[in-house]
């Protein structure tokens, strides 16, 4: 299939996804399970990765910015801005694609090849809406929280490891992360993460929903979903950064 055909079918699927649910209560119940399975269960991963990255950036910068003309507190500032502007938002979205995206693609793909999606359709349920809408909503909802959590953990990671390794003093670091702080950057990045949440859920859902074949194809679809979502996240990042900042 051509890129254009995929795009067309993707938007057609979104049309099916965002239509009126048969029974709202069933959908809200599903929304909460999805928030838990896709969002809450990602909290641990986000915390671990972000703490390490924050710590590593802090160490790298402290060891390598040795020019006496550069004040030490810039280490904190650079760590903060890396986290706020790109890591916690874009890179985290790409990491989440590997976790949430592949999960969504393989779950829907398996449901497709075992005829569970057909079963829903035969019951008269809009399978795309029932299966996908709660996932997209859940991921969009949790992404800004994961973003804030990631920034926070990254900063704490630097604060703990930097001084502990003797790379930077806590005072310099704390001064740095407050120096020239622009709250607007946080809002804008959190706003960006909403779009990433949409991509990270809807694109893998598309690849999973239209699987044809068996276990082998489900695996292939999951891989394709992750690759394509990551590329789209970067493209969208480029566009949004140009527009917003």
């Amino acid at each position: 299939m051509t890129f254009l055909a995929h795009t067309g079918r993707y938007f057609a699927l979104l049309g099916k996804v965002f239509s009126r649910p048969e029974r709202l209560r069933m959908y809200t119940a599903k929304l909460f399970t999805e928030i838990e399975s896709l969002g809450v269960n990602s909290v641990g991963l986000v915390m671990i990765l972000s703490s390490f990255i924050g710590a590593i950036i802090t160490l790298q910068l402290s060891y390598n910015l040795v020019n006496p003309l550069i004040p030490r507190y810039l280490v904190g500032l650079a760590n903060r801005d890396t986290l706020i502007l790109e890591f916690s938002c874009t890179i985290m979205a790409m990491i989440m694609t590997g976790k949430i995206g592949s999960n969504i693609a393989s779950e829907l793909g398996t449901m497709r090849v075992t005829e569970q999606i057909d079963s829903l359709e035969i019951m008269g349920v809009n399978s795309a809406c029932y299966l996908i809408m709660p996932k997209i909503t859940a991921v969009i909802f949790v992404f800004p929280f994961l973003y804030i959590l990631s920034v926070f953990c990254g900063l704490v990671g630097g604060l703990i490891v930097g001084p502990a390794m003797g790379a930077i003093s806590a005072a310099d670091y704390l001064g740095g992360i407050r120096y020239l702080f622009v709250p607007r950057f946080v809002y804008l990045s959190a706003f960006k993460s909403l779009f990433f949440g949409f991509l990270v859920s809807s694109v893998p859902a598309y690849f999973g929903y239209y699987v044809e074949g068996g276990a082998f194809e489900v695996g292939a679809a999951s891989t394709r979903a992750v690759i394509n979502t990551n590329i789209l996240v970067l493209v969208l990042d480029l566009i949004l950064t140009q527009i917003l900042f």
């Binding site: 048969e22 449901m111 075992t114 005829e115 569970q116 057909d118 079963s119 359709e121 035969i122 008269g124």
Partner: protein, 255 residues
């Protein structure tokens, strides 16, 4: 009653359904029989619209299914119970939740009413109470099939379609399933279509039989006629199991 007229369906140039015309009566178990790969599943899926036919028409009673919008089809499908060849239970839900799903989605019954209905349907397919809380992965293939049947009949559908409901079941359970399908068909006067290649089922419940081979209707009749049919391909199919040749010969000689 379900009627199909001149159905054609092909996949990538390979014709799977070749001019199928048939009528499936209400209150009877209509069987579609044929060898593996003859197109039974494709025919059944075309009737419910999971495959879009290339040409031909499908009627539910007087309603032309082929001409319907997707919204109209969705409404009509609530009248259909379907059992897929692989069971197709939702594996994120337990057995009881699977059967409850249509009730949750489409009825306003109270929890106790729903549970009563679930118990009733699962009892009819001989699923023990303590199995209800297990997940589909924890029960045997035959049990999955039976749960799928319970889920298909939970809303009392006027149309029931089963794709090989008793393949992979032991003869005893297979007979229980056949009797069950036959029972609900006559009791609730529903239109039932069953795909099978099991001659035991054919002789048990074949009110009306459609034999297809390579996507074409080769023969239609019922379970008494089938033993004496002159069609070669059908004879090969029926008498692949010697017991039925014996049965025919015995009947002929009046034993």
């Amino acid at each position: 009653m379900v009627r199909v007229e001149n159905l054609y369906k092909s996949f990538d140039g390979k014709t799977v359904l070749n001019n199928i015309t048939a009528e499936f009566s209400q209150g009877q178990t209509n069987l579609i029989i044929g060898k593996s790969g003859s197109g039974k599943t494709v025919l059944l899926k075309s009737i419910v619209g999971l495959h879009e036919v290339d040409s031909g028409r499908i009627f539910y009673g007087e309603r032309d299914f082929t001409g319907m919008s997707s919204r109209e089809r969705k409404l009509l499908r609530r009248e259909i119970g379907m059992v897929f060849q692989g069971g197709a239970l939702f594996d994120s839900l337990t057995v009881a939740e699977n059967v409850r799903f249509p009730l949750d989605m489409f009825t306003t019954q109270t929890a106790t009413e729903k549970q009563k209905r679930i118990d009733f349907c699962l009892d009819r397919v001989n699923i023990a109470r303590d199995v209800q809380r297990l997940s589909p992965a924890e029960i045997s293939g035959g049990m999955q099939k039976r749960v799928a049947i319970a889920r298909a009949i939970v809303l009392n559908p006027p149309y029931l379609f089963c794709d090989e409901p008793n393949s992979g079941l032991d003869p005893e359970t297979a007979k229980v399933i056949d009797t069950l399908i036959y029972g609900i068909t006559t009791e609730f006067n529903i239109t039932t279509i069953v795909n099978t290649h099991d001659m035991n089922s054919v002789m048990e419940i074949g009110d009306k039989i459609l034999f297809i081979s390579e996507g074409q209707v080769e023969w239609t009749g019922n379970k008494t006629e089938i033993l004496y049919a002159g069609n070669r391909k059908l004879q090969e199919f029926v008498f692949a199991n010697h017991q039925y040749r014996q049965l025919r010969d015995d009947k002929r000689s009046g034993i």
